[in-house]
């Protein structure tokens, strides 16, 4: 059983990972569009000022500069909010990074409704869909501080463009410290026989809580952490569903274009299976505390419990 080692924000996991990369990989450089503190990139900036590029509030230019900086083997990490890392600069990423095959790591904080009070203008819920559609793009959404740090270290070793998505609020930190992060490898967190529950990002912790509650009611739920949405670990998904015959997905993202859709596509082509999806249902977010918003938009453990029970 996983326990919270003390709430931490996933963006701080990114900041810690980036700082460590600064010490261990001289090829890593970082760019930020006037959100250094919010992205927790300030420690890297302080320690490695000659490898840090402050571009100002100009995200399109940041993406292009990052593409150009790959000349000579540099590994650029860009940092800004998820909204400004994707939708605002989609064409720059598409042409100058993805199509051009540049080894740029697009690191995006404040994804989803848990950004909170700033409201819907900043709460992007479409970013996974946007990024997973780009050929050659790897899309990663780790679940807690420890895993975000590990993912940050891992993407520096991966050749090719990556979208790394994380968030603002302090949430449960429950995966092992100093874990090895394997891109594209789903993690079985809890075995079960009745339902396969596939979750990503902040919803992994909620899914574990839901599974523990359902276990007490006699429903055996298998929880799998899909930290990498693309490439999707289809083998792990099909193996689990072959056993349970039921699938639930959980994510802090639009129902259109997210993890649920990727898994539905995999299952429908290989092993058609009844599914439930926990996601935002074709709606923008709004202002509120992260917890209030999770409740209002149906992303809490109790919503996952209710979704599982629809099978029975």
């Amino acid at each position: 059983m996983f326990t919270d080692q003390g709430a931490k924000d996933t963006r701080s996991g990114f900041g810690a990972g980036l700082l460590e990369l600064g010490k261990t990989n001289p090829k890593v450089v970082a760019l930020c569009a006037d959100l250094t503190g919010s992205l927790k990139m300030d420690a890297f900036e302080k320690e490695f000022p000659d490898r840090f590029y402050q571009v100002g509030i100009a995200e399109a230019n940041m993406m292009g500069i990052a593409a150009g900086l790959t000349i000579g083997g540099n590994i650029p990490f860009t940092g800004t909010f998820a909204n400004f890392s994707t939708g605002r600069v989609y064409d720059q990423i598409r042409q100058s990074i993805a199509y051009s095959g540049k080894n740029v790591k697009i690191c995006a904080s404040h994804a989803g409704v848990t950004l909170g009070e700033d409201g819907a203008t900043h709460q992007i819920l479409e970013d996974i869909g946007l990024m997973k559609m780009l050929p050659g793009m790897t899309v990663i959404n780790p679940c807690d501080y420890n895993q975000t740090k590990a993912a940050t270290l891992a993407i520096a070793e991966h050749e090719g463009p990556v979208y790394l998505r994380f968030g603002r609020p302090k949430v449960a930190n429950f995966t092992p410290e100093n874990q090895k992060f394997e891109i594209g490898k789903a993690l079985l967190l809890k075995e079960g026989t009745d339902v396969s529950l596939f979750a990503t990002g902040h919803l992994v912790w909620e899914s574990l809580q839901a599974a523990y509650a359902l276990e007490r009611e006699g429903i055996s739920v298998e929880v799998i952490n899909i930290h990498t949405i693309k490439p999707l670990d289809e083998e792990a998904i099909l193996k689990s569903v072959a056993k349970t015959g039921r699938a639930v997905t959980a994510e802090e993202h639009q129902i259109n274009g997210g993890l649920g859709e990727s898994i539905a596509s995999t299952l429908s082509r290989n092993l058609p299976t009844p599914m439930q999806m926990i996601a935002v249902n074709d709606s923008f977010g709004e202002s509120g505390t992260p917890d209030q918003l999770m409740k209002k938009y149906g992303l809490k453990d109790e919503n996952i419990v209710a979704a599982v029970k629809r099978f029975f």
């Binding site: 571009v55 100009a58 292009g64 593409a67 900086l69 000579g72 042409q95």
Partner: protein, 319 residues
């Protein structure tokens, strides 16, 4: 001297914001009439003529592509690749360590780019016949995706190349590589906001190993730039963003272009990025394609091809 009267720094030449700087006299430069031209430059003038043949033949063959801007930038490409940049065409790699780098931002003028790359040894000239055809490395707009030697970034969606060139220039500095980064942009392309984000960055951060050239032909798809969205004084704008600005008044006169590019190199490394505002004639070298925006993205028919090629006798052998 043929060049001193044709090039001048921005400070020496200020045109009124609303003046029409794109005089049709530029179209009178064919055939080039510069005096004191040495054999090497004369060879390059002939090279330009062959490149122009390639351009019109390539777009005619697939009944698509962009001849206007390609013809207008022919002297620029030939000057850059034959007289200005140092590079290793036979051993192309993405990093280009110890080489000058070029980024084409207005990717639609791929015909001139491909012709010059091929004829400078990056890939076989015969491959020009695959332009825009299925399974070709010569895509409609340039790309790294098909592995064509000479290309370091995809372009076509406008406004992105200056940022990429800045990134490459920063990489050169990081890697203690003294070579330079060149880029080319259309004037219509300057209507994209990202250009000005990039211009602000390069000026503010003293990216002085970058030479960005603006193809100021005054035309874009829908008409004259001043009618579609007036760019104002391009040189003044870049100067205001902290760039050193040089003007080429006759961008279709090869010796002039070579000289101003060399002058721009002399201005590099002094704390400012360098912008060259290069006046050209869209469609230069083919009489019926000049003086209008209409040949921006239209291919000649059989009859028009014949007329164009009659104006551009073969100098190096057709592909």
């Amino acid at each position: 001297m043929w060049f001193t009267s044709l090039c001048f720094t921005f400070a020496a030449k200020k045109t009124h914001h609303n003046s029409r700087p794109f005089s049709p006299i530029i179209s009178m430069n064919f055939p080039p009439n510069s005096i004191n031209m040495n054999q090497d430059l004369q060879d390059s003038v002939n090279f330009c003529q062959q490149v122009r043949r390639d351009i019109v033949r390539m777009v005619h063959a697939v009944n698509s592509g962009h001849p206007g801007g390609s013809l207008g930038c022919t002297e620029f490409f030939v000057a850059l690749y034959r007289h200005v940049m140092t590079y290793d065409a036979k051993n192309f790699d993405m990093d280009g360590k110890g080489e000058d780098l070029f980024f084409l931002s207005n990717g639609h003028i791929s015909p001139v780019y491909y012709s010059v790359l091929a004829r400078c040894g990056f890939f076989p000239v015969e491959e020009l016949k695959t332009f825009r055809k299925i399974n070709s490395r010569l895509q409609g707009h340039p790309t790294t995706h098909e592995g064509l030697p000479g290309i370091r970034i995809a372009s076509g969606s406008l406004g992105q190349g200056l940022s990429v060139a800045i990134g490459a220039a920063l990489a050169k500095k990081r890697n203690a590589d003294k070579k330079l980064v060149f880029s080319l942009h259309g004037d219509g392309e300057l209507q994209e906001g990202q250009i000005w984000e990039a211009a602000m960055y390069a000026g503010s951060n003293k990216v002085d190993n970058l030479i960005a050239t603006i193809d100021a032909n005054g035309r874009q798809i829908d008409g004259n730039t001043e009618d579609v969205l007036d760019l104002g004084n391009i040189g003044e704008k870049f100067a205001a963003f902290g760039w050193e600005v040089v003007t080429i008044a006759a961008g279709n006169d090869l010796p002039t272009v070579v000289n101003v590019l060399k002058q721009a190199i002399d201005l590099s490394g002094r704390g400012k990025p360098v912008c060259i505002v290069m006046r050209t004639e869209m469609g230069a070298g083919v009489d019926f394609m000049m003086g209008s925006h209409k040949w921006h993205g239209v291919a000649p028919n059989d009859e028009q091809l014949e007329s164009a090629l009659a104006q551009l006798p073969e100098t190096m052998g057709d592909y």
